[in-house]
């Protein structure tokens, strides 16, 4: 037994940051060169007042609007983000109220980055198999733009604020999950002075009230090309599947080059390896559900297909599974 992902809906903030604007701001490499380096033409930026949970509400409301699903059918809520409304209480509790879900639901926040969607799926899978939940509303939403200094060209080129919402339900296909964690890499992608570790240094920059995101892109890159191919191999072994049996590979959309190197290493043809960074950027935990959503719209992804999902990044952390869509 496993789970299926249904009714994915997406929310994009209004403001778009394109390569032309980045060129205007930084007067550095040309818009075309930005695209060549990153594979990205535009990203979405949440407004100052708009939080990740607001975006999550928009995506969820779209979901309820487009489906027959009743709010009282939801019996568990998972909210995956790294930008919560408050230090306390839990944002998922506030979302229970804002989305008018029942009081009898369980609700948790999952503070996670790029591997967050697969982690959330893994937890949802356990909750559903154990009988704890039947219909889980799973929201991913993040606002990385709020942690990036205006002057950081590299990070502004990459990251994007996007929310997704979907329903997780029981399915016959038996999905296995492979997880990996290596905290020795925690300083390679971090919001410095953000939490309780250096509480006295926290909050002192009004422009970056949540701390400043710092990334050692070389280390993140090295980690990803080392770990992801191993993870793919292990997933295939665990599922006793040949790589040819996988209909579509949907990986976290980190950057074009990284994805391309990974694709070549695992020897998957282009048409089976979905990439949709171009008009979205790296949307952290939303990248995989967003890719699934767009792949389905384009007709690349169809019900019943075997899809390999892989998330990797901040932590370091990596996670993968194979689902039947």
């Amino acid at each position: 037994m496993g789970i299926s992902i249904k009714n994915i809906e997406v929310y994009f903030p209004e403001r778009v940051l394109d390569n032309e604007e980045l060129f205007k701001i930084f007067n550095d490499i040309s818009p075309n060169d930005i695209f060549k380096r990153t594979g990205i033409k535009k990203r979405y930026i949440s407004s100052r007042e708009e939080t990740a949970s607001d975006m999550g509400v928009e995506a969820s409301e779209a979901l309820f609007l487009k489906t027959e699903l009743k709010r009282n059918e939801i019996d568990f809520l998972i909210f995956c983000s790294e930008c919560f409304d408050y230090i306390a209480p839990t944002t998922s509790c506030i979302l229970q109220d804002r989305l008018k879900l029942q009081n009898s639901i369980g609700a948790i926040d999952l503070p996670y980055g790029c591997s967050g969607f697969v982690y959330g799926l893994g937890i949802a899978n356990s909750l559903i198999i154990s009988g704890m939940a039947k219909k889980i509303l799973f929201i991913t939403s993040d606002t990385p733009s709020k942690l990036i200094p205006e002057s950081n060209f590299e990070l502004r080129c990459l990251f994007s604020d996007i929310a997704t919402a979907c329903i997780i339900e029981k399915n016959k296909f038996d999905s296995q999950y492979v997880f990996g964690t290596d905290g020795s890499g925690y300083q390679n992608l971090i919001a410095v002075n953000s939490g309780f570790r250096h509480a006295n240094k926290r909050n002192h920059d009004e422009k970056l009230p949540f701390g400043e995101m710092k990334m050692n892109s070389t280390e993140v890159f090295r980690f990803a090309i080392k770990k992801v191919p191993k993870l793919v191999k292990e997933l295939l072994i665990r599922h006793q599947l040949e790589i040819e049996k996988i209909d579509l590979f949907v990986f976290h959309q980190a950057s074009y080059y990284l994805l391309e190197i990974i694709r070549r290493k695992i020897k998957v043809p282009l048409e089976k390896f979905f990439v949709n960074l171009e008009f979205n950027g790296n949307s952290v935990s939303s990248s995989i559900p967003l890719a699934l959503y767009e792949a389905e719209m384009k007709g690349v992804l169809k019900k019943g297909m075997k899809v390999m999902l892989v998330g990797y990044g901040i932590g370091f952390s990596w996670a993968g599974t194979i689902i039947e869509y």
């Binding site: 939080t51 839990t90 944002t91 999952l110 503070p111 704890m132 964690t181 919001a191």
Partner: protein, 350 residues
């Protein structure tokens, strides 16, 4: 409904860790001697433990986990590591990942944080239970705790003297010779303002007004960056929701009050917990307290109470426990579980 039955789970050990620094209610000079004794009488809190400025919740959990893993010599077997807290080291990355490295747990482990307060231990156990139940993963380490004292304002008598710091580690394993566990989990976000840190995250980013001390009421002076607690609302919520949640769980699991050996409640405040005890008609000797010495330690209060009060009982006997956590969110949940020869220990961080 978020009821759940989980099979094949065993608690092997629980270690709790508190800082050595003690803050006594009688030394809290914002309130008069009379107010101090009334406070001790109603909340039960005589003293609390306060972590020094360079110690975080993850340090307390680390110490507890280190001790536990030494005892069981099983750090290489940990498949799942969960850190439940509202005081993480960083907003990103997740603290559980940092702890994986510090504890030298294998890189093949699943590690994630859950952001919950008073209900965190019960929620954490339900997530661990769900993950282990399938048998794919064999051993899990559940770390829960908070450093709440850093978030309260000294001049806020409604919050400052209530909270203590603590961390805990619980080792769980897949085991087919155990009886089922039963959970009942609930949420109500309409109570979000009852316990809240208003400024400092995405909804109200930190700004120059966040530090400004404001007199809310007599004896209640705090800034927006501080933890604000509406005692009356929390009190009402706990009286209204905790007892039915427990009663429904007893009914769902076909368990009578008499069958439960110990009811370990979140240590919120003695008046709340005593009301709950009387409502459910439970004998006093079945309801252990640790609030007198540690205050409200958020998600760590249940494991801390177990380590402080039930060490001998859990080591030697087969005990049926009902654990119940309720508070910030609002979020609340209860669990009925049978435990047997559990290693427990309470340690101090120096």
């Amino acid at each position: 409904m978020a009821y759940q039955q989980i099979n094949n789970i065993r608690i092997d050990g629980i270690v709790s860790c508190v800082p050595s620094g003690i803050a006594r209610t009688v030394d809290y000079n914002i309130i008069s001697k009379e107010e101090q004794s009334l406070f001790i009488k109603t909340t039960g809190i005589k003293e609390r433990r306060v972590a020094s400025s360079d110690v975080t919740c993850s340090d307390l959990c680390y110490k507890a986990a280190f001790d536990l893993l030494e005892e069981f010599k099983c750090k290489d077997e940990i498949d799942v590591l969960i850190f439940v807290s509202q005081s993480p080291d960083y907003f990103l990355p997740a603290t559980s990942i940092i702890l994986q490295e510090k504890l030298k747990i294998p890189k093949t482990c699943m590690a994630f944080d859950v952001n919950l307060g008073c209900s965190g231990y019960v929620y954490g156990l339900s997530i661990v239970g769900s993950i282990l139940q399938s048998g794919q993963f064999k051993k899990a380490l559940l770390l829960v705790g908070d450093k709440s004292t850093i978030s309260t304002s000294y001049t806020d008598k409604s919050a400052y003297p209530l909270f203590g710091d603590a961390g805990s580690a619980t080792l769980l394993s897949y085991n087919e010779n155990t009886s089922p566990w039963y959970f009942n989990l609930q949420s109500d976000g309409s109570g979000k303002d009852a316990i809240i840190i208003k400024d400092g995250h995405s909804r109200n980013p930190y700004n120059k007004d966040s530090d400004e001390l404001i007199e809310i009421d007599k004896g209640i002076i705090r800034a927006k960056k501080h933890l604000a607690l509406n005692g009356m609302d929390i009190f009402n919520f706990a009286l209204r929701e905790a007892a039915p949640n427990i009663k429904n769980l007893l009914e769902y699991s076909k368990t009578s009050i008499e069958e439960i050996d110990y009811f370990v409640f979140h240590q919120a405040n003695k008046l709340i917990n005593e009301s709950l005890r009387k409502k459910l008609k439970i004998n006093l000797d079945k309801v252990p307290y640790s609030i007198d010495l540690f205050g409200n330690t958020s998600s760590a209060s249940i494991p801390l109470t177990i380590c402080h009060q039930l060490q001998i009982e859990l080591k030697s006997n087969n005990c049926k426990l009902l654990l119940s956590g309720f508070g910030v969110g609002y979020s609340w949940g209860s669990l009925i579980c049978e435990v047997q020869s559990v290693y427990t220990k309470l340690i101090e961080n120096d």
